[in-house]
Amino acid sequence: MAGNITLEVVTPEKVVVSEEVQIAVAPGSLGEFGVLVGHTTFLTTLKTGMIHYTGADGGQRYIFASGGFAEALPDKLTVLAESAERRRDIDTGRAQAAMERAQKRLEKEDEDIDFARAKAALERALHRIRIAGTKQ
Protein backbone atom coordinates (compact mmCIF):
# COMPACT_ATOMS: atom_id res chain seq x y z
CA MET A 1 0.00 0.00 0.00
CA ALA A 2 1.30 3.40 -0.94
CA GLY A 3 0.31 5.01 2.32
CA ASN A 4 -2.50 6.01 4.60
CA ILE A 5 -5.13 8.69 4.40
CA THR A 6 -6.71 10.61 7.23
CA LEU A 7 -10.34 9.82 7.88
CA GLU A 8 -12.37 12.38 9.76
CA VAL A 9 -15.99 11.89 10.68
CA VAL A 10 -17.49 14.98 12.28
CA THR A 11 -20.99 15.62 13.62
CA PRO A 12 -22.27 18.89 15.07
CA GLU A 13 -21.89 17.39 18.52
CA LYS A 14 -18.43 15.93 18.33
CA VAL A 15 -15.60 14.51 16.27
CA VAL A 16 -16.44 10.83 15.96
CA VAL A 17 -13.35 9.56 14.21
CA SER A 18 -10.04 11.14 13.36
CA GLU A 19 -7.37 8.65 12.44
CA GLU A 20 -5.06 7.22 9.82
CA VAL A 21 -6.65 4.55 7.68
CA GLN A 22 -5.63 2.43 4.71
CA ILE A 23 -8.94 2.60 2.89
CA ALA A 24 -12.33 4.08 3.63
CA VAL A 25 -15.59 3.20 1.89
CA ALA A 26 -18.63 5.47 2.12
CA PRO A 27 -22.17 5.32 0.71
CA GLY A 28 -22.40 8.22 -1.75
CA SER A 29 -25.83 9.25 -2.98
CA LEU A 30 -24.97 8.00 -6.48
CA GLY A 31 -23.24 4.87 -5.28
CA GLU A 32 -20.72 3.57 -2.83
CA PHE A 33 -17.17 4.79 -3.25
CA GLY A 34 -13.83 3.85 -1.76
CA VAL A 35 -11.04 6.27 -1.04
CA LEU A 36 -7.35 5.35 -1.12
CA VAL A 37 -4.41 7.68 -0.95
CA GLY A 38 -4.18 9.84 -4.07
CA HIS A 39 -7.94 9.97 -4.66
CA THR A 40 -9.11 12.77 -6.90
CA THR A 41 -10.82 15.68 -5.15
CA PHE A 42 -14.43 14.77 -4.88
CA LEU A 43 -17.51 16.07 -3.13
CA THR A 44 -20.75 14.17 -2.67
CA THR A 45 -23.78 13.84 -0.48
CA LEU A 46 -24.18 10.63 1.48
CA LYS A 47 -27.02 8.21 1.89
CA THR A 48 -27.90 6.93 5.31
CA GLY A 49 -25.75 3.91 5.85
CA MET A 50 -22.41 2.46 6.72
CA ILE A 51 -18.93 3.83 6.34
CA HIS A 52 -16.34 1.14 6.77
CA TYR A 53 -12.61 1.45 6.78
CA THR A 54 -9.44 -0.52 7.34
CA GLY A 55 -7.44 1.04 10.11
CA ALA A 56 -3.67 1.56 10.01
CA ASP A 57 -3.35 -1.66 12.02
CA GLY A 58 -5.35 -3.59 9.43
CA GLY A 59 -8.52 -3.95 11.50
CA GLN A 60 -11.94 -3.46 9.94
CA ARG A 61 -14.11 -0.79 11.55
CA TYR A 62 -17.68 0.27 10.92
CA ILE A 63 -19.46 3.55 11.41
CA PHE A 64 -23.09 4.47 11.02
CA ALA A 65 -23.71 7.86 9.41
CA SER A 66 -26.82 9.71 8.29
CA GLY A 67 -27.65 13.04 6.73
CA GLY A 68 -24.27 14.08 5.59
CA PHE A 69 -21.82 14.73 2.84
CA ALA A 70 -18.22 13.82 2.23
CA GLU A 71 -15.23 15.51 0.76
CA ALA A 72 -12.32 13.47 -0.53
CA LEU A 73 -8.87 14.97 -1.02
CA PRO A 74 -5.75 13.09 -2.12
CA ASP A 75 -4.70 12.52 1.49
CA LYS A 76 -7.92 12.95 3.42
CA LEU A 77 -11.58 12.00 3.59
CA THR A 78 -13.82 14.28 5.60
CA VAL A 79 -17.36 13.23 6.40
CA LEU A 80 -19.77 15.79 7.81
CA ALA A 81 -22.82 13.97 9.12
CA GLU A 82 -25.84 14.99 11.16
CA SER A 83 -25.40 11.88 13.23
CA ALA A 84 -22.68 9.27 13.27
CA GLU A 85 -21.70 6.49 15.64
CA ARG A 86 -19.01 3.88 15.78
CA ARG A 87 -20.33 0.35 15.71
CA ARG A 88 -19.61 -0.23 19.39
CA ASP A 89 -21.45 2.96 20.35
CA ILE A 90 -24.69 2.03 18.63
CA ASP A 91 -27.56 1.66 21.05
CA THR A 92 -29.34 -1.38 19.62
CA GLY A 93 -32.22 -1.16 22.07
CA ARG A 94 -32.96 2.39 21.03
CA ALA A 95 -32.67 1.54 17.36
CA GLN A 96 -35.06 -1.39 17.84
CA ALA A 97 -37.58 0.85 19.56
CA ALA A 98 -37.21 3.47 16.83
CA MET A 99 -37.78 0.82 14.19
CA GLU A 100 -40.98 -0.42 15.81
CA ARG A 101 -42.24 3.11 16.27
CA ALA A 102 -41.58 3.97 12.63
CA GLN A 103 -43.20 0.76 11.40
CA LYS A 104 -46.32 1.43 13.43
CA ARG A 105 -46.55 4.89 12.02
CA LEU A 106 -46.17 3.67 8.48
CA GLU A 107 -48.88 1.05 8.96
CA LYS A 108 -51.47 3.66 9.83
CA GLU A 109 -51.80 4.80 6.25
CA ASP A 110 -55.05 6.67 6.58
CA GLU A 111 -53.73 9.19 9.03
CA ASP A 112 -52.03 12.32 7.91
CA ILE A 113 -48.46 11.51 8.90
CA ASP A 114 -45.13 12.76 7.79
CA PHE A 115 -44.47 9.80 5.54
CA ALA A 116 -40.98 10.85 4.52
CA ARG A 117 -39.93 11.43 8.07
CA ALA A 118 -41.18 8.08 9.33
CA LYS A 119 -39.50 6.35 6.42
CA ALA A 120 -36.21 8.09 7.10
CA ALA A 121 -36.44 7.11 10.77
CA LEU A 122 -37.07 3.50 9.80
CA GLU A 123 -34.13 3.52 7.42
CA ARG A 124 -31.83 4.91 10.08
CA ALA A 125 -32.95 2.32 12.61
CA LEU A 126 -32.52 -0.56 10.16
CA HIS A 127 -29.03 0.54 9.22
CA ARG A 128 -28.05 0.90 12.87
CA ILE A 129 -29.28 -2.60 13.66
CA ARG A 130 -27.56 -4.06 10.61
CA ILE A 131 -24.23 -2.42 11.45
CA ALA A 132 -24.43 -3.41 15.10
CA GLY A 133 -24.92 -7.00 13.95
CA THR A 134 -21.95 -7.00 11.56
CA LYS A 135 -19.24 -9.45 12.53
CA GLN A 136 -15.83 -7.96 13.14
Partner: protein, 296 residues
Amino acid sequence: MATLKEVKTKIGAVKKTKQITKAMNMVAASRLRGAQTNMEGFRSYAEKFAEVLGGLSGRAGEETNPLLLPHDEVIKKHIILCTSDRGLCGGFNAHLISKADSFIKEAGEDIEFSVTNFGKKGRDWCRKKQISIRSEHIDVIGTVIKFNIASTAGKGLIDGFLNGEYDEVYVVYSEFISMGRQVATIKQLLPIPPMESDEDEAEDQDKPYLAEHICEPSPDELLGELLPRSVYVQLYSALLETSTSEHAARMMAMDNASKACDDMIDNLTLAYNKARQASITAELMDIVGGAEALRG
Protein backbone atom coordinates in the same frame (compact mmCIF):
# COMPACT_ATOMS: atom_id res chain seq x y z
CA MET B 1 -29.97 50.31 67.20
CA ALA B 2 -31.19 46.83 66.55
CA THR B 3 -31.01 44.38 69.40
CA LEU B 4 -28.27 41.79 69.54
CA LYS B 5 -30.56 38.91 68.70
CA GLU B 6 -32.04 40.62 65.65
CA VAL B 7 -28.63 41.33 64.21
CA LYS B 8 -27.52 37.78 64.84
CA THR B 9 -30.55 36.34 63.04
CA LYS B 10 -29.90 38.64 60.12
CA ILE B 11 -26.29 37.55 59.84
CA GLY B 12 -27.44 33.94 59.82
CA ALA B 13 -29.93 34.68 57.04
CA VAL B 14 -27.36 36.41 54.86
CA LYS B 15 -24.91 33.58 55.38
CA LYS B 16 -27.50 31.10 54.18
CA THR B 17 -28.24 33.22 51.12
CA LYS B 18 -24.54 33.28 50.40
CA GLN B 19 -24.38 29.52 50.55
CA ILE B 20 -27.10 29.32 47.94
CA THR B 21 -25.58 31.87 45.59
CA LYS B 22 -22.22 30.18 45.93
CA ALA B 23 -23.68 26.80 45.11
CA MET B 24 -25.46 28.26 42.07
CA ASN B 25 -22.22 29.84 40.99
CA MET B 26 -20.49 26.49 41.10
CA VAL B 27 -23.29 24.73 39.25
CA ALA B 28 -23.21 27.40 36.55
CA ALA B 29 -19.45 27.08 36.29
CA SER B 30 -19.56 23.34 35.70
CA ARG B 31 -22.41 23.68 33.19
CA LEU B 32 -20.45 26.39 31.46
CA ARG B 33 -17.54 24.05 30.99
CA GLY B 34 -19.87 21.49 29.45
CA ALA B 35 -21.40 24.08 27.15
CA GLN B 36 -18.00 25.32 26.06
CA THR B 37 -16.92 21.80 25.21
CA ASN B 38 -20.03 21.44 23.07
CA MET B 39 -19.28 24.68 21.32
CA GLU B 40 -15.75 23.61 20.58
CA GLY B 41 -16.95 20.24 19.31
CA PHE B 42 -19.29 22.03 16.96
CA ARG B 43 -16.67 24.48 15.73
CA SER B 44 -14.80 21.93 13.62
CA TYR B 45 -18.06 20.97 11.92
CA ALA B 46 -19.11 24.56 11.33
CA GLU B 47 -15.75 25.57 9.91
CA LYS B 48 -15.59 22.68 7.49
CA PHE B 49 -19.18 23.28 6.51
CA ALA B 50 -18.60 26.96 5.79
CA GLU B 51 -15.54 26.10 3.73
CA VAL B 52 -17.38 23.63 1.53
CA LEU B 53 -20.46 25.81 1.21
CA GLY B 54 -18.41 28.88 0.34
CA GLY B 55 -16.54 26.99 -2.35
CA LEU B 56 -19.72 25.54 -3.80
CA SER B 57 -21.77 28.70 -3.89
CA GLY B 58 -19.04 30.29 -5.96
CA ARG B 59 -19.37 27.56 -8.53
CA ALA B 60 -23.09 26.98 -8.66
CA GLY B 61 -25.45 29.10 -10.75
CA GLU B 62 -26.31 32.43 -9.17
CA GLU B 63 -29.57 32.97 -7.31
CA THR B 64 -31.26 29.80 -8.31
CA ASN B 65 -32.25 28.42 -4.96
CA PRO B 66 -35.49 29.80 -3.47
CA LEU B 67 -33.80 30.07 -0.09
CA LEU B 68 -31.48 32.72 -1.52
CA LEU B 69 -34.18 34.77 -3.20
CA PRO B 70 -35.66 37.67 -1.23
CA HIS B 71 -39.44 37.96 -1.40
CA ASP B 72 -40.68 40.86 -3.52
CA GLU B 73 -42.66 42.39 -0.72
CA VAL B 74 -41.63 42.14 2.89
CA ILE B 75 -44.64 42.48 5.14
CA LYS B 76 -44.28 39.59 7.52
CA LYS B 77 -41.16 39.03 9.54
CA HIS B 78 -40.34 36.20 11.84
CA ILE B 79 -38.04 36.32 14.84
CA ILE B 80 -36.44 33.41 16.61
CA LEU B 81 -35.95 34.63 20.14
CA CYS B 82 -33.45 32.73 22.23
CA THR B 83 -33.60 33.40 25.97
CA SER B 84 -33.08 31.37 29.08
CA ASP B 85 -35.77 29.45 30.96
CA ARG B 86 -34.85 30.75 34.36
CA GLY B 87 -33.85 34.07 35.84
CA LEU B 88 -31.05 34.83 38.28
CA CYS B 89 -28.63 35.63 35.53
CA GLY B 90 -28.38 39.41 35.71
CA GLY B 91 -29.43 41.41 32.68
CA PHE B 92 -29.07 38.48 30.30
CA ASN B 93 -32.71 38.10 29.28
CA ALA B 94 -33.42 41.81 29.50
CA HIS B 95 -30.72 42.51 26.91
CA LEU B 96 -32.03 39.89 24.51
CA ILE B 97 -35.62 41.01 24.86
CA SER B 98 -34.82 44.68 24.43
CA LYS B 99 -32.88 43.78 21.29
CA ALA B 100 -35.94 42.07 19.85
CA ASP B 101 -38.20 44.86 21.07
CA SER B 102 -36.20 47.62 19.44
CA PHE B 103 -36.00 45.61 16.23
CA ILE B 104 -39.78 45.31 16.16
CA LYS B 105 -40.23 49.00 16.90
CA GLU B 106 -37.76 50.06 14.22
CA ALA B 107 -39.61 48.08 11.60
CA GLY B 108 -42.70 50.24 12.07
CA GLU B 109 -46.31 49.25 12.32
CA ASP B 110 -46.81 48.00 8.79
CA ILE B 111 -44.77 44.91 9.42
CA GLU B 112 -46.40 41.93 10.99
CA PHE B 113 -44.26 39.96 13.39
CA SER B 114 -44.38 36.40 14.61
CA VAL B 115 -41.99 34.64 16.90
CA THR B 116 -40.46 31.24 17.55
CA ASN B 117 -39.37 31.02 21.14
CA PHE B 118 -36.52 29.16 22.65
CA GLY B 119 -36.74 29.72 26.40
CA LYS B 120 -39.45 30.65 28.87
CA LYS B 121 -38.49 34.24 29.51
CA GLY B 122 -38.88 35.29 25.89
CA ARG B 123 -42.15 33.42 25.62
CA ASP B 124 -43.58 35.14 28.67
CA TRP B 125 -42.63 38.47 27.20
CA CYS B 126 -44.29 37.65 23.89
CA ARG B 127 -47.46 36.60 25.68
CA LYS B 128 -47.54 39.82 27.61
CA LYS B 129 -46.94 41.88 24.49
CA GLN B 130 -49.40 39.76 22.52
CA ILE B 131 -47.04 38.95 19.71
CA SER B 132 -48.14 35.85 17.91
CA ILE B 133 -46.05 32.83 18.89
CA ARG B 134 -45.58 30.30 16.14
CA SER B 135 -43.91 27.68 18.25
CA GLU B 136 -42.11 27.48 21.55
CA HIS B 137 -39.32 25.28 22.82
CA ILE B 138 -38.84 25.14 26.56
CA ASP B 139 -36.12 23.17 28.33
CA VAL B 140 -33.70 23.54 25.46
CA ILE B 141 -31.42 26.44 26.28
CA GLY B 142 -29.06 25.61 29.11
CA THR B 143 -29.17 21.87 28.56
CA VAL B 144 -27.07 19.69 26.33
CA ILE B 145 -28.59 20.58 22.98
CA LYS B 146 -29.01 17.94 20.34
CA PHE B 147 -28.59 18.87 16.71
CA ASN B 148 -31.94 17.40 15.75
CA ILE B 149 -33.67 20.13 17.76
CA ALA B 150 -32.10 22.69 15.47
CA SER B 151 -32.77 20.70 12.33
CA THR B 152 -36.42 20.05 13.19
CA ALA B 153 -37.03 23.68 14.05
CA GLY B 154 -35.02 24.80 11.03
CA LYS B 155 -37.08 22.63 8.72
CA GLY B 156 -40.26 24.21 10.03
CA LEU B 157 -38.81 27.66 9.45
CA ILE B 158 -37.81 26.88 5.88
CA ASP B 159 -41.23 25.43 5.11
CA GLY B 160 -42.87 28.55 6.50
CA PHE B 161 -40.58 30.75 4.46
CA LEU B 162 -41.30 28.88 1.26
CA ASN B 163 -45.06 28.82 1.91
CA GLY B 164 -45.03 32.56 2.29
CA GLU B 165 -46.03 32.53 5.96
CA TYR B 166 -43.33 35.12 6.43
CA ASP B 167 -40.88 36.92 4.20
CA GLU B 168 -37.81 37.22 6.37
CA VAL B 169 -36.46 35.31 9.34
CA TYR B 170 -34.14 36.71 11.98
CA VAL B 171 -32.57 35.12 14.99
CA VAL B 172 -31.95 37.01 18.23
CA TYR B 173 -29.32 35.32 20.34
CA SER B 174 -26.57 36.06 22.78
CA GLU B 175 -23.10 35.91 21.34
CA PHE B 176 -20.55 34.47 23.72
CA ILE B 177 -17.44 36.62 23.54
CA SER B 178 -15.81 35.91 26.86
CA MET B 179 -16.70 34.98 30.41
CA GLY B 180 -17.53 38.56 31.25
CA ARG B 181 -18.99 39.63 27.94
CA GLN B 182 -22.05 38.37 26.11
CA VAL B 183 -23.65 40.49 23.46
CA ALA B 184 -27.25 40.30 22.31
CA THR B 185 -27.08 39.98 18.54
CA ILE B 186 -29.56 39.86 15.70
CA LYS B 187 -28.82 38.03 12.50
CA GLN B 188 -30.72 37.39 9.30
CA LEU B 189 -31.35 33.73 8.66
CA LEU B 190 -33.67 33.70 5.66
CA PRO B 191 -33.41 34.51 2.83
CA ILE B 192 -29.82 33.39 3.25
CA PRO B 193 -27.73 36.53 3.02
CA PRO B 194 -25.04 36.49 0.33
CA MET B 195 -21.59 35.47 1.46
CA GLU B 196 -19.06 38.18 2.10
CA SER B 197 -17.40 37.91 -1.25
CA ASP B 198 -14.44 40.15 -0.46
CA GLU B 199 -13.15 37.78 2.11
CA ASP B 200 -13.76 34.76 -0.06
CA GLU B 201 -11.89 36.21 -2.98
CA ALA B 202 -8.88 36.95 -0.84
CA GLU B 203 -8.83 33.37 0.33
CA ASP B 204 -9.43 31.99 -3.12
CA GLN B 205 -6.26 33.58 -4.38
CA ASP B 206 -4.22 31.73 -1.81
CA LYS B 207 -5.85 28.43 -2.44
CA PRO B 208 -8.19 27.85 -5.37
CA TYR B 209 -10.55 25.86 -3.24
CA LEU B 210 -12.81 23.30 -4.85
CA ALA B 211 -11.62 24.43 -8.25
CA GLU B 212 -11.34 20.96 -9.67
CA HIS B 213 -13.67 19.02 -7.41
CA ILE B 214 -15.79 16.40 -8.99
CA CYS B 215 -19.28 16.89 -7.62
CA GLU B 216 -21.85 14.20 -7.29
CA PRO B 217 -24.66 15.06 -7.95
CA SER B 218 -24.17 18.38 -9.78
CA PRO B 219 -22.96 21.47 -7.89
CA ASP B 220 -26.46 22.98 -8.07
CA GLU B 221 -28.06 19.93 -6.55
CA LEU B 222 -25.39 19.72 -3.89
CA LEU B 223 -26.03 23.33 -3.03
CA GLY B 224 -29.73 22.58 -2.78
CA GLU B 225 -28.89 19.92 -0.21
CA LEU B 226 -26.49 22.06 1.72
CA LEU B 227 -28.40 25.35 1.94
CA PRO B 228 -31.17 24.11 4.23
CA ARG B 229 -28.51 22.47 6.31
CA SER B 230 -26.65 25.74 6.58
CA VAL B 231 -29.77 27.21 8.18
CA TYR B 232 -29.77 24.41 10.76
CA VAL B 233 -26.09 25.01 11.39
CA GLN B 234 -26.67 28.72 11.96
CA LEU B 235 -29.58 28.02 14.26
CA TYR B 236 -27.69 25.39 16.18
CA SER B 237 -24.75 27.68 16.71
CA ALA B 238 -27.12 30.42 17.94
CA LEU B 239 -28.60 27.98 20.45
CA LEU B 240 -25.20 26.85 21.65
CA GLU B 241 -23.95 30.41 22.02
CA THR B 242 -27.03 31.47 23.96
CA SER B 243 -26.73 28.46 26.19
CA THR B 244 -23.08 29.12 26.96
CA SER B 245 -23.78 32.81 27.51
CA GLU B 246 -26.58 32.02 29.93
CA HIS B 247 -24.28 29.97 32.14
CA ALA B 248 -21.57 32.60 31.98
CA ALA B 249 -24.06 35.36 32.83
CA ARG B 250 -25.46 33.35 35.71
CA MET B 251 -21.99 32.66 37.01
CA MET B 252 -21.15 36.35 36.99
CA ALA B 253 -24.46 37.30 38.60
CA MET B 254 -24.01 34.74 41.35
CA ASP B 255 -20.44 35.81 41.90
CA ASN B 256 -21.59 39.39 42.39
CA ALA B 257 -24.35 38.24 44.70
CA SER B 258 -21.86 36.30 46.82
CA LYS B 259 -19.64 39.36 47.04
CA ALA B 260 -22.59 41.50 48.07
CA CYS B 261 -23.36 38.93 50.75
CA ASP B 262 -19.81 39.22 52.06
CA ASP B 263 -20.14 42.99 52.29
CA MET B 264 -23.43 42.67 54.11
CA ILE B 265 -22.01 40.14 56.55
CA ASP B 266 -19.10 42.47 57.29
CA ASN B 267 -21.38 45.41 57.97
CA LEU B 268 -23.72 43.35 60.09
CA THR B 269 -20.87 41.86 62.10
CA LEU B 270 -19.64 45.37 62.80
CA ALA B 271 -23.09 46.40 63.95
CA TYR B 272 -23.33 43.27 66.06
CA ASN B 273 -20.03 43.93 67.80
CA LYS B 274 -20.97 47.54 68.43
CA ALA B 275 -24.25 46.51 69.96
CA ARG B 276 -22.53 43.88 72.08
CA GLN B 277 -20.01 46.39 73.37
CA ALA B 278 -22.69 48.93 74.10
CA SER B 279 -24.60 46.39 76.16
CA ILE B 280 -21.47 45.39 78.11
CA THR B 281 -20.65 49.02 78.81
CA ALA B 282 -24.19 49.62 80.00
CA GLU B 283 -23.99 46.60 82.29
CA LEU B 284 -20.67 47.68 83.74
CA MET B 285 -22.08 51.13 84.38
CA ASP B 286 -24.92 49.53 86.28
CA ILE B 287 -22.60 47.45 88.46
CA VAL B 288 -20.24 50.33 89.18
CA GLY B 289 -23.19 52.59 89.94
CA GLY B 290 -24.64 49.96 92.32
CA ALA B 291 -21.32 49.49 94.13
CA GLU B 292 -20.87 53.25 94.53
CA ALA B 293 -24.35 53.52 95.98
CA LEU B 294 -23.67 50.76 98.56
CA ARG B 295 -20.40 52.26 99.65
CA GLY B 296 -21.91 55.72 99.93
